[in-house]
């Protein structure tokens, strides 16, 4: 990564909280203007990572650079105050100031930085218009919906003209339809503002839609730092398979690009070059990628027994048993109706997994 | 309350506080000149206030009069120091002398207190003498014998007259101060109490004083308000002058009499 293009760089970051090591040598790098997404289960230390970058939690060691400037370095003793780091923070509940109106909230960073009140309010109104919240200008934050709050918080953060935007679970507090609407909006705003952003979330959908680079945070370490497509293709490689809800099965390499999976038989899949025939492998694939009743001659077809069928919002959730393996898939309603209705419990069905949907790695 | 209201309220409070500080600072008065600190029992506050004023007028000295119960005053004298100590009873003066806080040579009697039986107006229990206090059903109050001068005196008097064991079952309250005891009588909470005769004059319309024949308490003698110069006094001559003034001057004696205190013999009206 060229220094000039640096947006955010985190090196060997160690953070302890209450005597517990939360981050253990975390590494992360984002080019300027990129959106980095840190995926991790609850309690993995995602918020701690943000707070360390923000400067309100002091790491025990490591180094943080924002837009090429060192803001924290344990070896040289640099530790800039949060207000001098240029990293605007949007917390999970958006952190709007309840004693100020929407417009005053958006103008807050400008007033705090010494811009005269009149000018600050004018500029705030401009930013509010850009984010479509100008009609809420004189409202109090408590009167806003979750989606409105998020847009106001975003407007306020952008008004600060930060060098880095820190977003903590930006969609968790919202209902599903609002979430679907706001993800593209956030993506558009981040692209247009050409701003480096670090977003932490437990949702792969957030990462998929918003992320240029996706990291996995597990046990205090960051892995990945790849495009979301690459992460989805090779979840085992980045230690993300379990987090992303992939089925993980043990298998043996039969021959190059052929794996023997107990219960599923011989499957075609890209396998590691280094693996010796007969060696133990892990295979991972998404439940959604299982195809029911594939056309004859489809590769990777196996037979399974239907254990359970439940209706869901989009279709049916079907639990299959193939040997010892228990697999769960979701099939769209229309797709199953076209095949003569959903399978019944106890029925034997044929199923297949496309070879390109299977990731393999040495066990 | 929004930010502006809070600011206005804050401003008002700050202004009030500043004014009050100014007033207090002024009140503190830096040049108070010569100050005589005297500790006076609060039960006799009224006459003491007048005597202090008369003394100030005569000498031009500022007297800082601190009031309280005898024990309280003794503690303050011990901690802070002062010039004159005048508790409510001889007992506390003895303590002060024993502790070396008061010069024994300077102790004098300021005013005498005669014991009486104080009853609510109309004398509901028909008390006419000490032996009536032993009558079943009479509610009697006395001061705490271990801690209050008037209680100690009552107990000694009842023991002297052989009535203590008989009166004891009738005692419904042991008051912590003579004022409290007097209030019980004035409010009708007890039928009778052994107090000083001056206490009747606190509530002349609500109480009656039944005299106790002098031969019954001649042995104990009247109680009195003692006064003496503190050993640590920084103005001992002035303090002695105050003691003299309070116990001997015609003006002071007149004040004591006006408040129905007795004055030591030899100073007739």
């Amino acid at each position: 990564m060229k220094p000039a293009a640096r947006g955010l760089r985190v090196e060997k970051l160690h953070v302890e909280r209450g005597g517990r090591a939360v981050l253990q040598g975390a590494q992360l790098g984002l080019p300027r203007g990129a959106v980095g997404v840190v995926l991790g289960p609850n309690g993995a230390g995602k918020t701690t990572l943000l707070e360390a970058v923000l400067g309100i939690v002091r790491p025990s060691s490591g180094r943080i650079e924002i837009a090429g400037d060192v803001v924290y370095d344990s070896s040289s003793g640099v530790n800039l105050a949060p207000e001098r780091r240029g990293a605007a923070y949007v917390p999970q509940d958006y952190g709007l100031f309840p004693h100020l109106t929407v417009l005053e909230n958006i103008a807050f960073p400008l007033i705090a930085q010494g811009v005269p009140r009149r000018e600050a309010l004018q500029e705030a109104r401009r930013v509010a218009e850009a984010l479509g919240v100008d009609h809420l200008a004189s409202a109090r934050p408590t009167a806003l919906s979750g989606g409105q709050k998020q847009r106001v918080a975003l407007a306020r953060a952008l008004a600060a003209q930060p060098r880095l935007l820190l977003l903590d679970e930006p969609f968790t507090a919202l209902d599903a339809p609002t979430r679907e609407k706001l993800r593209p909006l956030l993506r558009r705003v981040l692209r247009e503002a050409d701003i480096t952003a670090l977003l932490v979330t437990h949702s792969f959908s957030d990462a998929w839609i918003l992320g240029d680079l996706v990291y996995i945070l597990e046990e205090g370490r960051l892995r990945g730092g790849v495009a979301p497509e690459e992460l989805a293709r090779h979840p085992l490689r980045y230690g993300a398979a379990r987090l992303l809800g992939y089925h993980i099965l043990e298998a043996r390499l039969a021959s190059p690009n052929r794996v023997k999976v107990p219960g599923l038989g011989l499957l075609r899949a890209e396998t590691p070059h280094s693996a010796e025939p007969g060696s133990r492998l892990l295979v991972a694939f998404r439940g959604d990628d299982i195809v029911l009743n594939p056309p004859p001659g489809t590769p990777n077809t196996f037979t399974a027994t239907v254990l359970d069928v439940t209706a869901t919002r989009y279709g049916y959730r079907i639990v299959l048993a193939a040997g010892d393996a228990v697999l769960t898939t979701e099939a769209p309603r229309g797709h199953l109706l076209a095949q003569g209705g959903p399978p019944r419990k106890g029925e034997k069905v044929r199923a297949s997994i496309p070879p390109e949907a299977i990731d393999t790695a040495p066990a | 309350m929004d930010g502006k209201t809070a600011l206005v309220a804050l401003g008002v409070v700050a202004a009030a506080a500043a004014l009050a500080v100014a007033a207090l600072a002024h009140h503190g008065g830096s040049d108070r000149g010569l100050v005589l600190r005297v500790y006076l029992c609060s039960a006799a506050r009224k006459p003491w206030e007048e005597i202090v004023k008369l003394f100030e007028e005569e000498t031009g000295v500022h007297v800082e009069a601190i009031y309280g119960s005898s024990g309280y005053l003794l503690a303050q004298l011990r901690l802070v120091g002062g010039d004159v100590y005048a508790p409510a009873s001889p007992y506390y003066m003895e303590l002060a002398v024993q502790e070396g806080l008061v010069d024994p040579g300077t102790v004098a009697k300021a005013a005498l207190l005669y014991p009486v039986i104080l009853v609510p107006r109309g004398n509901p229990a028909g008390v006419s003498g000490l032996e009536d206090l032993a009558r079943p059903g009479v509610r009697v109050g006395i001061g705490e014998p271990d801690r209050v001068a008037v209680g100690r005196y009552a107990r000694l008097l009842l023991e002297e007259t052989g009535l203590w064991e008989k009166v004891r079952p009738n005692i419904v309250v042991y008051a912590k101060t003579v004022a409290e005891l007097t209030n019980y009588v004035a409010m009708g909470a007890v039928d009778a109490a052994i107090t000083w005769d001056v206490n009747h004059w606190w509530y002349p319309n609500r109480t009656e004083a039944i005299p106790i024949p002098e031969e019954l308490w001649r042995g104990l003698g009247p109680s009195y308000i003692p006064i003496g110069v503190a050993s640590g006094s920084s103005h001992p001559d002035l303090a002695r002058r105050f003691v003299e003034f309070a116990t001997r001057s015609p003006e002071a004696l007149q004040v004591w009499r006006r408040y129905h205190y007795h004055v030591p013999a030899g100073d007739g009206p």
Partner: protein
């Protein structure tokens, strides 16, 4: 359950009303006249309000940094420190007065030479301050506890310095709690007797309402004492009404 509880509340209120009525009745016009005549009525009321205003203001000014530091756990061994700071809360005020007096005539006599606190009206402020301070810290701490630290983190990330986020976010959001703390301290100071009597002395020039009541009562002037007590109940009632108004308004604005 609801009915007996309501009845109990009404009974309690009636009992307080009866108490005040009895006090006023015992005072009578002669009591008020006596208290006014001795010069204590107007003086003690003015002195009480003045000293309580000063001590409540000082208590809050001092409690804001302390309460904030405790709320944000900026102090090492903060539970221990807080327990120590709260200890005087449970101390009898007389004991506090003795402690102050012992301190000011002993090891801290230089402080008394500068501030002139023993047996002076200024001592009243010191005594009231000592008694109300732990309570003020507690209430102020609670006011800051109600301000999410995350909001201050957000403010700082937006370029606001520590002082800026304290004055523009923490203080305004805690303002209502601070007002309540001020009023509580004021009311507590109005009623303070024990520490004041020991440190400032029971004297005419240090006679706040409670001290004037004691002065009158120990001299047998219970009518005048009742008149002063009625007056202090009225002052307290005004303060209590203010407190309730604050609480009511806070109930309206917070969701």
């Amino acid at each position: 359950m609801a009915r007996p509880a309501a009845v109990a509340a009404m009974l309690a209120a009636a009992a307080v009303a009866a108490l005040l009525a009895a006090l006023a009745a015992w005072a009578g016009s002669s009591g008020f006249a006596a208290a006014a005549g001795s010069g204590l009525l107007a003086y003690s009321m003015a002195l009480s309000v003045a000293t309580a205003t000063v001590s409540a203001t000082l208590a809050i000014v001092a409690a804001v940094p302390v309460g904030y530091a405790l709320s944000r756990r900026m102090v090492p061994a903060s539970s221990l420190v807080e327990a120590l700071l709260l200890t005087p809360f449970a101390m009898p005020p007389v004991a506090m007065g003795v402690a102050l007096l012992v301190l000011l005539v002993g090891p801290a006599s230089w402080l008394n030479r500068v501030l002139d606190l023993v047996f002076t009206p200024r001592g009243l402020v010191a005594a009231q301050l000592a008694v109300t301070f732990p309570m003020a810290i507690r209430v102020v701490r609670g006011a800051f506890d109600a301000v999410p630290p995350k909001l201050e983190a957000v403010a700082r990330s937006l370029g606001c310095s520590w002082w800026c986020s304290f004055t523009r976010v923490a203080l305004p959001l805690a303002a209502r709690g601070l007002s309540a703390a001020w009023l509580l301290s004021f009311l507590r100071s109005l009623g303070e007797f024990g520490a004041s009597a020991v440190l400032a002395g029971v004297k005419r020039d240090t006679a706040t309402l409670p001290i004037a009541i004691y002065l009158e009562l120990s001299g047998g002037e219970s009518h005048a004492a009742a008149a002063l007590a009625t007056l202090s109940a009225l002052v307290a009632a005004v303060g209590a009404a203010g407190l309730l108004m604050l609480e009511k308004r806070s109930g309206e604005t917070t969701p």
